[in-house]
Every structure is written in structure tokens, then in C-alpha cells.
């Protein structure tokens, strides 16, 4: 017990580790804020950089970057409507309208506090339930991932704004984009139109940067003359009663975040989508409608995506299996440093688990601190005249896209998606469902075909599987309930009949 305690506090008491964690968080916020610069990339660079360091020092820096980076994506989402990372896409839905009202300071303040709460809940769940949660995560068979993806598709109703038909079109379009490239099973090219560059598919961050960044730049060109909104930065730290008011929602969405994060096939991006949907369904009367600057729409994804960090560590520390792309790279770092990540890690090097838990908690404390400072400077971005901002946004999008895979072709695609996004936006399509499709499309295809292959291509056995296994039955029932219950499907059908 005393050992556990001393491992937990290791990072808190060693000035070197303390400093590196702080540095990591600070750097992570900026890495996360720039679209295209991802935490995965930063951590892989750090592997070569910290090769000769002691493992604890290297890990402290990486943990800091991870925690800061997941949070950082929300900054640009709120200020410019350009999510810094896919897990911050939903943050833009209500964060950006808040910035347009001059409340960017308050929005960033609230998102910081909620991220920290989410992050700490994630750490708590990791510390208390890791082995059990990992075993639960292993229970998810391909057909369960398929059901999760289907559940994700149902979110289209909360993301598509006024026209459901347009929303459905957008999801299908996004999913089609997600499927471009070499087929996973047969290695056939799909929808590549003979291009070798497209064999590897279109990276979903390229789509995101185009649809949000470039499309936003074009959209802004419409009203060049409009003077940027003066931002009110008097009250950055949200008042206690506000935090308490949103705390129940934050806890609920954090739990969604940590569970989705712990599943090896899903991460913070899907978690934040589910959380946003949950907020929309459970909060009946927000002060401001969702999509127009509801605080609830900010609280939910921000709690969930930071909680997903703790979740992603669950399979990594207990089984040596990655929970997401970042933890996959961290496993590589452990290997290179001569450790053996696997089920024995917790038994042979128990300090590793508790050290990481303590370090994650510490990183969240630093996040609170760094997240609440520098906001005044950050919000100045919104006040930069458009004449300067718009060309800079395009350059940033180019650099961000190029740094993903060093491919100019992807940069052209990015501009293409930007122009497409602009037109779609002009004619009443929403960007959210497209991104939803791009994220879920491959998961849906993969898990469906795994599930079908597992039952020897028999559709009867496939359908039976969805209701026979207890876990699958739970997921299936949720889907059926959502479909029959409070979805707009009912209201939509109803209104259709009424209009006739």
C-alpha cells in the first residue's frame, strides 16, 4: 500500500518529472490547437528525441503532451470553427457560436474546467477499475463494434440540423470518402479511379481540415467587411454555480468517454460524438438551443474526450494492447526503452501503472493551470482582421495537411474538400454528419465483414448473433429503443402524415 502511494506521488515530488509534465502539457495545448499537428505525431518524434533518456522522464513528457493535446483541439474549434483534432469537432458546434457572441473567453474557461473534470474522472476510473474494464472491453466482438457504429450513425439525427435527408446524404458521402483506398481484406482498390496515391485512402484529418478550415475561410469571405466581434475576457474562470450545474452532465459524459476510450477499436473522436448526442437527448431545455451556443454542447464533448485518455490507458497498461493511436506509439516507446508492455507489465513493474496514474492526474492539474492562463492572448486571434486571418488560415491548413503524410496530393484534396464544403454549407448541408461518416464508415465496413466472416457468411447466423449474445442484445435493444423512441424519426414521420 505504501509502495502504491509512493509510486503515485513519484511525478509530484520529483522536480524534474514535475517540470517535464508541465512542459509537455503546455506544448501539447499548442500541438493540439494546430490542425494537422497531432499528438500521435508529437509522441513519435519524442521517441527518437528521448531515446537516451530515462524512461520515466520520457513518459512524463509524453503523458503531458497527450493530455494537453487532447484539450488543445478545442481552442481553435471555439475560436475559428476549425477543430484542432477530430475529437474536437463537436466542440465547434456550440463553441464557435459562443465566440461569435463575444463569449470565447468564457467558453474556453468552461471547456478547460470540464476537460480537467473529465480527465480526472478518466484517471479515477483507470485507477479503480482498469483490469475489470479491460476484460469488459475484450468482450466486444466484431458484431458489437458493428452495433456501436450503427448506434453512431443514429447520431445523424442530432447533427443534421433542419433537413434529415441532407444529413443522411452527408453521412453516406462521408462514409464513402472513408472507404476510398485499398480494401483491407482483398487488397483491391476501391473507388480510387486508378490513382496510386489514393490506395492508402484519404486521411480523415485531411477531410476535416478541408471541410472546416478552408470552407470556413471561404465562408468568411462573404462578409469581409464585418468587423470581428470584440471578445469579453473579464470572466474567464466559470463561477462555481455554473460548474456545479453542469457537473452531472460532465460526469455522465465522462463515463461515456472512458468506456468508449477503453475499447481498442474506438477513441476520443467517437466518444465526443456520443457525448454530444447524449447531451442533446438528455438536456431538454437548454438556455440557448444546441448549435447556437449551448454550454451543454461544450461541456459534453470536452468532458468525454479528456476522459477517453484515461480509458485509452486501460488496455495499454493492463494488456499491452493500445486503446488508440497515441497509446499504440507509447507502447512502441516502452518497447524501445527495453520494457515489455503486456499483461505482465503490471505484475513485473507495478510502479509503471501507479506512476502513470499519478502522472496523468498531475498533468490534469497542470492543464487546469495552463488552460486558464493565456486565454486573453488566445482570444485576440478572433479579433485579428479577416484580411489577415483568412490567408493565414489557408497557409495553416496547407502546412497542417502536409505534415500528416508529407503528400502534396493530400493538400490538393484538402483544398478540394474545402471548396466542396463551402458549397455544401451554402445549400444547407451540415459538416458534422460528413465527419461522422468519415469516422464511422471504415469501422462499420470492417466490423461488418469481420462479423460476417466469423459466421461463415450466413446472414441468418449474423442476425441471430445480434440478439443471442447478452452484450450484443443490450446494444441491439438500445438501438431499437432509440429508433422507436425519441428520435426525430417518429416526429418526422408524424409531421409527414400531418402535412398531407
Amino acid at each position: 500500500m505504501s509502495d502504491t502511494f509512493s509510486y503515485l506521488l513519484m511525478a509530484w515530488l520529483d522536480p524534474g518529472l514535475l517540470g517535464l509534465t508541465a512542459l509537455g502539457v503546455l506544448a501539447g495545448i499548442y500541438v493540439g490547437a494546430i490542425p494537422g499537428l497531432s499528438v500521435t505525431m508529437a509522441v513519435s518524434i519524442l521517441i527518437s528525441f528521448t531515446f537516451s533518456w530515462e524512461i520515466n522522464n520520457a513518459l512524463a513528457l509524453m503523458v503531458g503532451i497527450y493530455v494537453g493535446g487532447v484539450y488543445g483541439g478545442s481552442r481553435t474549434a471555439i475560436l475559428l470553427n476549425i477543430p484542432g483534432a477530430p475529437s474536437a469537432v463537436t466542440t465547434a458546434f456550440d463553441g464557435y457560436p459562443l465566440a461569435l457572441k463575444g463569449e470565447a473567453g468564457k467558453a474556453i474557461g468552461l471547456s478547460t474546467v470540464m476537460s480537467v473534470i473529465g480527465g480526472l474522472i478518466g484517471v479515477l476510473v483507470l485507477a479503480l477499475t482498469a483490469p475489470h474494464l479491460a476484460d469488459l472491453a475484450l468482450q466486444f466482438a466484431p458484431r458489437d463494434y458493428f452495433l456501436i457504429a450503427v448506434m453512431g450513425l443514429l447520431l445523424v439525427s442530432s447533427l443534421s440540423g433542419k433537413s434529415l435527408a441532407r444529413g443522411i446524404f452527408s453521412v453516406a458521402l462521408g462514409a464513402t470518402i472513408g472507404l476510398v483506398g485499398m480494401d483491407m481484406v482483398t487488397a483491391q482498390p476501391r473507388l480510387t479511379m486508378g490513382s496510386m496515391e489514393l490506395l492508402g485512402g484519404i486521411h480523415y484529418v485531411v477531410v476535416m481540415i478541408g471541410l472546416f478550415g478552408v470552407a470556413e475561410a471561404f465562408y468568411q469571405l462573404h462578409n469581409m467587411a464585418k468587423v470581428p466581434v470584440k471578445q469579453n475576457v473579464d470572466k474567464i474562470v466559470p463561477p462555481l454555480n455554473m460548474v456545479l450545474k453542469f457537473l452531472p452532465l460532465s460526469i455522465r459524459t465522462s463515463i461515456i468517454g472512458v468506456v468508449v476510450g477503453a475499447l481498442p477499436g474506438t477513441g476520443g473522436d467517437i466518444a465526443s460524438l456520443f457525448a454530444y448526442d447524449h447531451a442533446k437527448r438528455s438536456v431538454k431545455n437548454p438556455e440557448v438551443p444546441f448549435g447556437e451556443g449551448a454550454y451543454e454542447g461544450l461541456v459534453a464533448p470536452e468532458s468525454a474526450n479528456n476522459a477517453a485518455v484515461g480509458g485509452a490507458y486501460v488496455p495499454m497498461l493492463t494488456l499491452g494492447m493500445p486503446g488508440d493511436a497515441v497509446t499504440a506509439v507509447m507502447i512502441g516507446a516502452l518497447v524501445i526503452h527495453g520494457l515489455n508492455p503486456g499483461p505482465m507489465l503490471m505484475i513485473e513493474t507495478p510502479y509503471m501503472f501507479w506512476f502513470t496514474v499519478g502522472n496523468l492526474a498531475l498533468a490534469n492539474i497542470f492543464l487546469l493551470f495552463f488552460g486558464l492562463t493565456g486565454i486573453k492572448l488566445f482570444t485576440k486571434i478572433v479579433e485579428v482582421p479577416k484580411a489577415i486571418m483568412i490567408p493565414l488560415i489557408l497557409v495553416l491548413c496547407v502546412v497542417g495537411t502536409y505534415s500528416l503524410n508529407s503528400s502534396m496530393t493530400e493538400v490538393y484534396w484538402m483544398l478540394g474538400f474545402g471548396i466542396l464544403g463551402y458549397w455544401l454549407k451554402m445549400f444547407g448541408f451540415q459538416m458534422g454528419p460528413i465527419i461522422l461518416g468519415v469516422i464511422l464508415g471504415p469501422l462499420l465496413d470492417e466490423s461488418y465483414r469481420q462479423a460476417m466472416s466469423s459466421v461463415g457468411d450466413s446472414s441468418v447466423d449474423f442476425l441471430l448473433g445480434l440478439v443471442v449474445n447478452p452484450l450484443s442484445l443490450v446494444l441491439t435493444s438500445v438501438i431499437v429503443l432509440v429508433l422507436l423512441g425519441n428520435t426525430p424519426l417518429k416526429g418526422w414521420l408524424y409531421s409527414r402524415f400531418k402535412r398531407r
Partner: protein, 158 residues
Amino acid sequence: MTKKIERVQAGEKVFDWLLLLFSIVVLYEAYRIDDGIRLNSAGSFPIGLALIMLGSSLAILFSHRRKQRDPHILTATQEFKVFLHEHFKPHIVVFSIVSMLYLAAIMWTSFYVSTFIFLAAMFIYYRQGKIISSLMIATLAIAVIYVLFTIVFRVYLP
């Protein structure tokens, strides 16, 4: 974005027809993957998605029947004019063309040279003059990108 939802915008119908056309092209491409329809193969999902796109674009076109055209627009030529006026403002056209030129230029000059020229040109154009301060801001931006991407992140820019 919410202002004209019940009114057909200029060019909206044409755009929605284009989406229908796009869905058909995707369906054809998806069908070619397997040369047929199978339940569990590379082409199953692409075909399914293309059909969903086809169905929803038909639904979108159908919904136009309930919407009204702007009463001031009577003929196709007029609509075309309104469309040009709304979507092809000089700002937007210049930005689109210059950004395409910029992307093309990256390959045969270099990233930093073309970015500097692009930024400086766009700043001067949008701010209607102010050449010196525009050049200074462009230089500053290049410096920040250089430090952040080339030195810190070691991204090898073209």
C-alpha cells in the same frame, strides 16, 4: 445559415441535381469493384452507401416541391445572374484562383517562397494597400512557421 431554409436559393436545384449525378457515378464505380452485388465483399458497403446517397438526393429533390423560389426570380437567366452575384463575388473568385495558383507554385518554387508571395499578395489585396505592414506580417508569419514546423517538428516542407 438558417435564414432561407424554406426558400430555394439560386443554384440550389442545380446543385442538388449534381449530387444525384454524383451518387449515380459512385454507384457505378462501386458496382465495378465486385462486378455484382454480394453480401460480404469489398463492394458491399460502397454499393449500399451509394444507394443511400441516391435515395436521399432524390428525397432532397422531392422536398423542393414544398419550397418556393424567390418571387423576384422568374427565368433561368435571372437565376443564373443572382447565383453569380451571390457566389462569385470578386473576393471569393480571387481567393479561389490565387489559392490554387499557390498550391501549384509550392511544387516548383518552394514552400517558403510561394507562401510568402501568397500571403503578401493576399494581405495587400484585401487591405487595399498598406504594403509595408503587409510585408512585415507575411515575414513574421513565415518566421513563426519556420521555427514551429521546420525546427521544432522537423516537418520537411517541400
